[in-house]
């Protein structure tokens, strides 16, 4: 059965590859080609920055590759091209292709630096969450609220990821990207996070927030994010942390502010009710 699934997938692969090469856009849902725009203002800015550099690189690439291809096509010995050995150097040319790249780089560095400053300056935050990495799970602590819990790989994924299991990963919803208890945060709130580790290095990566920060034992890093849209967002540990590095996903459930307040109150209210809420 797995075999047929594989074959179907392969035909689909080819079909989608062809359509995506020809038409682009339509296939993107099935074939993630690009960075997500994400759910925060910062992630949108990072996406724009990424696209800006990408297009600059594409433009330069088109020019340079066109010149190379022109040489390859036109100056062929087999077509009778004779080498003009007098062309050996040109200070003008060297000057031009040193200065122009410098100017392009400056033009790229300015927006990059602006976005970086915005990301790095942590201010006006409304609540603080402490993230601690463990081999191989995350701990989330709501600072000042006396609420904290561990977040590990969901049991369905955990069963399906074992060696020699019969479970087809395609049958598991959000395979490897699901946890037992996600981090729950309110939407439209500027959240400061502190991050550290209890054992080895980890990195908390949430592509939709454009957040990736290393968890370092003995040191505390900080940063912030503010999510606009409620929803469930998924990421993973990004720094090799041992055998189960691939199995400690990051899941954040963003609730509207009022619902979050209820959730937090229930969480504080008691273990039994909290467990019920966390499982939704």
């Amino acid at each position: 059965m797995g075999r047929t699934v594989g074959n179907n997938r392969f035909t689909k692969c080819l079909a989608v590859l062809i359509t995506s090469l020809l038409g682009g856009g339509a296939a993107q849902a099935a074939w993630e080609l690009n960075m997500p725009v994400g759910a925060t203002d910062v992630s949108a800015k990072v996406f724009d920055l990424h696209m800006l550099i990408l297009w600059v690189c594409v433009a330069i690439g088109v020019l340079v590759f066109a010149a190379m291809i022109y040489c390859i096509v036109v100056f062929r010995k087999s077509k009778g091209a004779v080498a003009d050995t007098s062309i050996a150097h040109s200070n003008t040319a060297e000057f031009i292709w040193t200065v122009i790249p410098v100017l392009i780089l400056i033009a790229m560095a300015v927006p990059a630096a602006q976005t970086l400053v915005e990301i790095e300056v942590v201010r006006d935050t409304e609540m603080t969450i402490k993230i601690t990495g463990y081999q191989w799970k995350w701990e989330y602590e709501y600072v000042g609220e006396d609420v904290s819990f561990y977040s590990s790989l969901a049991s369905e994924s955990n069963a399906a990821r074992q060696l020699n299991t019969d479970i087809d990963p395609f049958e598991v919803e959000n395979y490897l990207l699901d946890v037992d208890k996600p981090l729950v945060v309110p939407a439209g709130t500027r959240i400061r996070y502190l991050i550290t580790s209890n054992d080895v290095l980890h990195a908390w990566w949430m592509p939709d927030f454009a957040v990736k920060k290393d968890a370092i034992p003995g040191f505390i890093n900080e940063g912030w994010f503010e999510v606009n849209e409620p929803g469930i967002y998924r990421g993973q540990c990004a720094e090799l942390c041992g055998k189960d590095h691939g199995f400690m996903p990051v899941v954040v459930e963003v609730l509207p502010k009022e619902e979050f307040d209820v959730w937090l109150a229930e969480k504080k209210g008691g273990v039994a009710r909290a467990a019920a809420t966390a499982n939704q």
Partner: protein, 526 residues
């Protein structure tokens, strides 16, 4: 190498000893070059087999073949073997063979040291590989050996560290030899600025090696004392700093990537003019660009660590210095292109690999520039985008440079032309598969797949499957290269002294195959 060992005491100054002892006791730069090159070729398949284990496991989601710990050992060893066992020895092999011949020297300046530098390698390599069979398995912390994770390695840790030390000693001795040779053994009239670009790039590379290999050795020594002698350089519990190791590692690691690529730049700078039948455009600015790249490589290391939580000023500095490297690199690409301008191009296998280098290395350069942009790097960092980036500069970059050089000089080494048809088949299969292998990894990284994971979410399945197909295609294509090399060593069309009609330089003035001793009387260079 003949199978019989003779114990013939007769020593002929103009020919090698017979049998296995020739290779063990040799101080001849050509023999040692050959040893390096065959060692590198063997390691290419050892490291390649490991990458195929990785790609096989990643063909489909779910774990099919190996457990996650062994997977991590494979990613670690694949990188260590490929970097220290394959690509660096390959380029030292080229340097051994070609540098004396290019500068009109009879041999390397320190022939016995040369023998040592090589013969350390097989033992260091074997020790490194043997760690896979030790209790607790081989190192599984990635080739970056980041503590605290690396300190969780089992019995293998001291052996792996000692192997890294030995490999470093070998490289440093090789580098000293190359610098000393270039500075002291040039034929009369061979001024520094007249030296071929390959010699120049190796001179600069050798200086980089001497500066940074000891830094790596220092870093792993501190790991060793942390693990066994109670120090806490990198252990927070004892007042140490895990990030310090990253600074040390990348202070070595970034120049290291230029140690890998600069000799390839040199080879490409020999090949493109030959097959364009035109001198290298902007020879002097190529030298200055190489030197600038080498200098800048010392002040960009922390761009590998943008997510560790550096101060804003530090991030800005390393972003700008990293972007600056694009300038001299661009100068090189523009000069190579201008060399082809109004040339008379022909497309033998070395030229084809050089052209693939030009296109694909440039793609790797673009993704490198993207990675320099810190806010965007927060998304790219430790994702498959990075994997795609450095494989583009290492495989169609450095490795294609080495393969191009092998085809370019093989007639000079063996006295026979290789089979051109097979060479072209090798080229086209390699060039296609390498893109099938690595291009989809850009998409995987952008879509959010972290690197160094043995299993992945189902939305990454399709591109991973394609990548694995490319990997197996690329891997098996390289067997063809071995066949071509063996065939060429054994026989084939006789090569002339000049071999290529556009070839210029001292190495093309000696007969093919190059006699065991060349330039015993220094040539006059005008």
């Amino acid at each position: 190498m003949s199978a019989t060992t003779t114990h013939d005491e007769h020593h002929d100054d103009h020919g090698p000893d017979k049998g296995i002892m020739r290779w063990i006791t040799t101080t001849n730069h050509k023999d040692i070059g050959t040893l390096y090159l065959f060692f590198a070729l063997a390691m290419l398949f050892v490291g390649g087999a490991m990458s195929l284990v990785i790609r096989a496991e990643l063909f489909q989601p779910g774990l099919q073949f190996v457990n996650p710990d062994f997977f991590n050992q494979m990613t670690t060893m694949h990188a260590l073997i490929m970097v220290f066992g394959m690509i660096m020895p390959a380029f030292v092999g080229f340097a051994n063979w070609m540098v004396p011949m290019m500068i009109g020297a009879p041999d390397m300046a320190l022939p016995r040291l040369n023998n040592w530098s090589f013969w350390i390698l097989p033992f260091a390599g074997t020790m490194l590989l043997s760690t896979l069979f030790m209790d607790g398995g081989g190192p599984a912390s990635g080739w970056t050996l980041y503590p605290p994770l690396v300190l969780q390695t089992g019995d293998a840790l001291p052996f792996a560290i000692f192997a890294v030390h030995l490999l470093g000693v070998s490289s440093i001795m090789g580098a000293i030899n190359i610098i000393v040779t270039i500075m002291n053994m040039r034929a009369p009239g061979m001024t520094l600025m007249k030296m071929p670009l390959f010699v120049w790039t190796w001179l600069i590379t050798a200086y980089l090696l001497i500066a940074v290999m000891p830094v790596l050795a220092g870093g792993v020594t501190m790991l060793l004392t942390d693990a066994f002698f109670g120090t806490s350089f990198f252990q927070a519990a004892g007042g140490g700093d895990p990030v310090l190791f990253q600074h040390i590692f990348w202070f070595f690691g970034h120049p290291e990537v230029y140690i890998i690529i600069l000799p390839a730049f040199g080879i490409i700078s020999q090949i493109i003019p030959t097959f364009s039948r035109k001198p290298l455009f902007g020879n002097d600015s190529m030298i200055y660009a190489t030197a600038s790249i080498a200098f800048l490589s010392f002040i960009v290391w922390a761009h590998h660590m943008f997510t560790v939580g550096m101060p804003l000023a530090g991030q800005l500095f390393f972003m700008l210095s990293t972007m600056l490297i694009a300038v001299p690199t661009g100068v090189k690409v523009f000069n190579w292109t201008s060399t082809m301008w109004k040339g008379s191009l022909s497309f033998e296998t070395p030229m084809l690999f050089a052209l693939a280098f030009l296109f694909l290395f440039t793609i790797g350069g673009f993704s490198g520039l993207m990675l320099a942009i810190v806010p965007a790097d927060f998304q790219y960092h430790d994702s498959y985008f990075v994997v795609a980036h450095f494989h583009y500069v290492l495989v169609p970059g450095a490795l294609f440079g080495a393969i191009a050089g092998a085809y370019f000089w093989m007639p000079k080494w063996t006295g026979h032309m290789y089979n051109e048809t097979l060479g072209k088949v090798h080229f086209w299969l390699s060039a296609i598969f390498v893109n099938v292998l690595f291009f989809p990894q850009h998409f995987l990284g952008l879509a959010g797949m972290p690197r160094r994971i043995p299993d992945y979410a189902t939305q990454f399945a399709d591109f991973n499957a394609i990548s694995t197909i490319g990997a197996f295609g690329f891997g098996f294509t390289q067997l063809l290269f071995v066949y071509i090399v063996i065939k060429c060593v054994r026989g084939g069309e006789k090569a002339t002294a000049q071999v290529w009609d556009g070839a210029e330089g001292l190495e093309w003035t000696v007969p093919s195959p190059a006699p065991y001793h060349t330039f015993e009387d220094a040539p006059e260079v005008r």
